[in-house]
């Protein structure tokens, strides 16, 4: 586990969190290099399927982040997204996916520090949780299970 480097996929809105990440970078703030950013126009665009696809493709954790309520470039995309996340995160928890594997946050373009801190925090948490083997095993089992049955 010591050499486990978490693989974190972050879906971020282009107007706030992506700009926040940019700020963290240009301000030379240090944060773990375990995160891959995927930029989308708005958190309202982030479908639950994105999160599942990320896990299917080997993510150990997913971060979803966008503008603070009231700041949405499209007025209410993040408020719609908030309702969906509420339900979807409960569903994931219900089927036994540790809530530490999916993080939701609001990070504005000015919050470079918050972005760097959050990535640090999430990375540490996922490092403690370990690789998302149960999902990966399931993915691997896709090849074997059928032949055994």
């Amino acid at each position: 586990m010591a050499d486990f480097e978490p693989n974190i996929t972050a879906f971020v809105c282009t107007w706030c969190t992506y700009a926040g990440a940019d700020l963290a970078g240009t301000s030379r703030m240090k944060y773990p290099a375990n995160v891959r950013l995927i930029r989308v126009p708005c958190t309202g665009r982030i479908d639950a399927l994105f999160i599942l696809k990320a896990f299917e493709n080997g993510a150990d954790a997913v971060l979803v982040s966008g503008c603070h309520p009231g700041d949405c470039h499209y007025t209410s995309g993040n408020l719609h997204a908030r309702r969906r996340w509420t339900v979807f995160s409960e569903l994931l928890d219900f089927v036994g996916i540790d809530s530490g594997r999916v993080t939701f946050s609001w990070i504005s373009a000015a919050e470079g520090r918050k972005f760097a801190d959050l990535i640090t925090e999430v990375t540490a948490k996922v490092r403690a949780l370990g690789p998302f083997d149960s999902y990966r095993k399931m993915s691997a089992a896709a090849g074997e299970q059928s032949n055994a049955r």
Partner: protein
Amino acid sequence: MPAEGRQLEKLRHLARHALESGAVSLVIGFAEGTVPGRAAPLFCTAPADADRLIFDGYCTLNLANYLTRPEVRAHQTVALVARHAVAKAVVGLVQESQVDPTRVRLIAIHCPDLDGLQQDVAWTVADGLQTLDEFLPTAAHLHDQELTPERFAAVAQVESKSSHDRWDHFAREFDKCIKCYACRNVCPLCYCERCIADKNQPQWIDTSSTQRGNFAWNIVRAFHLAGRCIDCGACERACPMDLPLMELNRKMKKVVAERFGYVAGYDPKADLPLVTFKKDDPEEFIK
């Protein structure tokens, strides 16, 4: 004549009269099944067909499912033999603009929720053909029974397990899934012309019935019904492999009720909880 027999006569009379009078051109109800313990959907277009209508505790299929079928849409006005769950699905379909409420009539059946298959249930039929608006007040009092703890017993049992055990539980259950999509195809609210599971550009959900493909399908099905599922249980009864689909659906129902104070199937004019928002929606899970 025993009470049940009188109700049956009344049901058939209503259907016959609806067709004779031209109020509707199609009545969808149930006929005796081909084997004991089953009932079969019946499409009555001639008054005489009404004589084959029955109702009992095996009539569990949600007939509202047929309203979105093109063959049924071709009819100007359609009547459904509708126990409460069927009417709730009609509410959902109207709410989502899939069905024109002026083209639907209900032959309302009042009976207990048909959760499992049971032959003997006490039922009565409403006095006349009803529009959805006429029906709704007669069922408004049932809203309070939607959230009783008994309904969520299975959910509570899963919730009481550890995260790890919940994962194992669902992994075991989803593994049984053979991807026949009976759950989707009997669901009155799964009306999409092309389901996300059938889309391949991109292929969001693996079509293969692998553990991974089954997981994605079952999660997404439950999520797409969140706030829309009217808790009729048709999916779970249709599942040939006995997946506990209602555990997921009821969990979603519970979350939506707790978080957004909404129960599906009562108000055709309400906003769907997942396509609307409030400024002060709870967000304690968001960092």
